[in-house]
């Protein structure tokens, strides 16, 4: 599933009457089976963009086009946290997408258990989200998203709340799963290393309102491993992105 993002703008009206521009005439395209990350300073409308692609938020201008003129492809969001329903146990949380599709309980159970095994969540069927670590909760969220096999996977800083070590492990796990599933992925992150490690291309956005700054292709082969981070190509891309982002982050912090 390829996605064309065309001229998207969005302004939010605050309760105080002040208007906040989140996105400004943003256009870019994502190929089928491509893994694209979006980096940018806080508040540059990254999350809003994901919600627009998912159809949860209507843009003020512009449109999202999908390959083959398809109107409503399945696009599943993986949230940073709070994405699991606290009143459902792990089994029901993972099966939520299938349940809402109307898949009967018995069929669903088999599929859910298979995916729980794949994400090494077996044995935690009857646990509630609050009984799990954040890292495990995010694995539950990933299992739930991959289980519905969506055309597009929208990830909103899924590892943002994790400690650095857990984050590395889950990045590897995501790479591994994605290699098998090959969904088209749009991945929002603050973490430059994470973006380079995972993506085929990185979209760099400017400070609010989010405008396209640069698109950086990542010329690293796949499958990738964590050791890539020490390679000169990797470090030079990291520097290149930071040079682009630093002034934007300073702007956002009012440090210029």
């Amino acid at each position: 599933m390829s996605i064309i993002i065309e001229d998207i703008s969005k302004v939010f009206a605050k309760d105080t009457g002040r208007e906040v521009a989140a996105l400004d005439k943003l256009s870019f395209a994502i190929e089928e089976h491509e893994f694209v990350s979006i980096v940018g300073p806080s508040g540059c409308g990254k999350t809003t963009l994901l919600k627009i692609v998912a159809g949860l938020v209507k843009p003020d201008t512009g449109q999202i086009k999908f390959s083959g003129g398809q109107k409503n492809p399945s696009a599943v969001i993986v949230f940073q946290d709070q994405g699991l329903l606290p009143w459902l146990n792990v089994l029901d949380n993972v099966g939520l997408g299938l349940e809402l599709k109307g898949i009967p309980k018995a069929t669903r159970r088999t599929q859910v258990l298979e995916f729980m095994f794949r994400f090494r969540l077996d044995g935690f069927e009857s646990h509630f989200p609050h009984e799990l670590s954040i890292g495990m909760r995010q694995r539950v969220a990933l299992a739930r998203a991959f289980l519905t096999n969506p055309d597009i996977m929208l990830m909103d800083e899924p590892f943002g709340a994790l400690d650095a070590q857990t984050r590395l492990i889950l990045q590897e796990e995501l790479l591994h799963t994605w290699r098998a599933e090959q969904n088209t992925v749009l991945f929002v992150t603050h973490d430059i290393d994470e973006a380079i490690l995972l993506s085929d291309r990185i979209i760099v956005l400017s400070d609010r309102p989010g405008k396209l700054q640069t698109i950086i292709p990542i010329p690293l082969g796949r499958p990738r491993e964590l050791t890539l981070k020490d390679q000169p190509t990797f470090t030079s891309i990291r520097q290149q992105i930071w040079k682009l982002l630093e002034p934007e982050v300073r702007k956002e912090l009012k440090l210029t």
């Binding site: 329903l85 809402l100 599709k101 509630f128």
Partner: protein
């Protein structure tokens, strides 16, 4: 052995102090009454009250009135609390309906419900329906407001999650609105039951043909103090029992809730 006893005491220290306070109070009362330092007619010795209380209870003296009071509490709770539950869910979920009805609720809620008695009698007559109406009104507002707040405090992300997976309105209700507000609904049930009990006893006191409130008032009018204290004891036991059963219901219905709050 000694150690484990010490641990037990440490663990239940507050409960032991509570118990000691109550027993100390009763002991002083008992001594004052026996020594004749307080009027034995107005403050009969607690031991005497308890003996008569159990004797009367065993003889079934209060049984009929207990049943009457209980059924009033429950019918009022079911009618008032039930309709408040439905309306509270609607008002919590729909911003538009909330905007229309919220000012009306805000205007009616602060009225002391007992002050409505004359109006209710005019509307429903001097009969059982007036009593039930009063108890229903008493249960209605605490339930309505708790339920509405319960829906409003649900994290908006949960709605996005479920909408993202293509949920219908009914799905959203079943999977997010109802379970998400359940802790507050149970809290509202607790307040509504307490309010129903208060209103029932009050209404029975001023215009009742039967019920514990009636017994309470009659015993005061005829200076049968042991009866009065017995009824007070029964009413507080009923109140305690209702709270306790709701707490147990909570553990059963929302096992995910207790720890969520302690984890935050």
């Amino acid at each position: 052995m000694k150690n484990s006893l010490r641990k037990m005491i440490a663990r239940y220290r507050e409960n032991l102090i509570t118990l000691a306070l109550i027993l100390g109070f009763l002991l002083i009362w008992e001594l004052l009454a026996r020594a004749g330092l307080v009027s034995r007619i107005i403050f009969p010795a607690p031991s005497r009250i308890l003996v008569l209380f159990f004797a009367n209870l065993a003889a079934g003296k209060y049984t009929r009135d207990m049943i009457v009071t209980f059924s009033r509490v429950f019918s009022g709770f079911l009618i008032g609390g039930g309709s408040a539950l439905v309306l509270g869910l609607i008002m919590g979920w729909s911003t538009r309906i909330r905007r229309v009805l919220d000012p009306i609720v805000a205007a009616l809620h602060p009225i002391p419900k007992f002050a409505l008695l004359p109006m209710v009698i005019i509307l429903f007559g001097i009969g059982e329906s007036s009593r039930i109406a009063m108890v229903s009104i008493g249960s209605f507002f605490p339930m309505l407001i708790s339920t509405m707040v319960g829906v409003l405090q649900i994290n908006p992300t949960y709605y996005e999650v479920i909408e993202n997976y293509g949920a219908s309105r009914l799905d959203t209700f079943r999977k997010v609105v109802l379970p998400g507000s359940l802790p507050f609904i149970i809290g509202g049930m607790r307040l509504a039951l307490k309010s129903a009990l208060t209103l029932t006893i009050g209404v029975e006191m001023v215009f009742g043909n039967s019920g514990l409130g009636r017994v309470l008032w009659l015993s005061w009018e005829t200076m049968r103090m042991t009866d009065m204290y017995s009824v007070l004891l029964i009413v507080s036991i009923i109140g305690f029992g209702l709270t306790w059963s709701l707490e147990s219901l909570k553990k059963f219905l929302i096992p995910w809730h207790q720890e969520v709050r302690s984890a935050e």
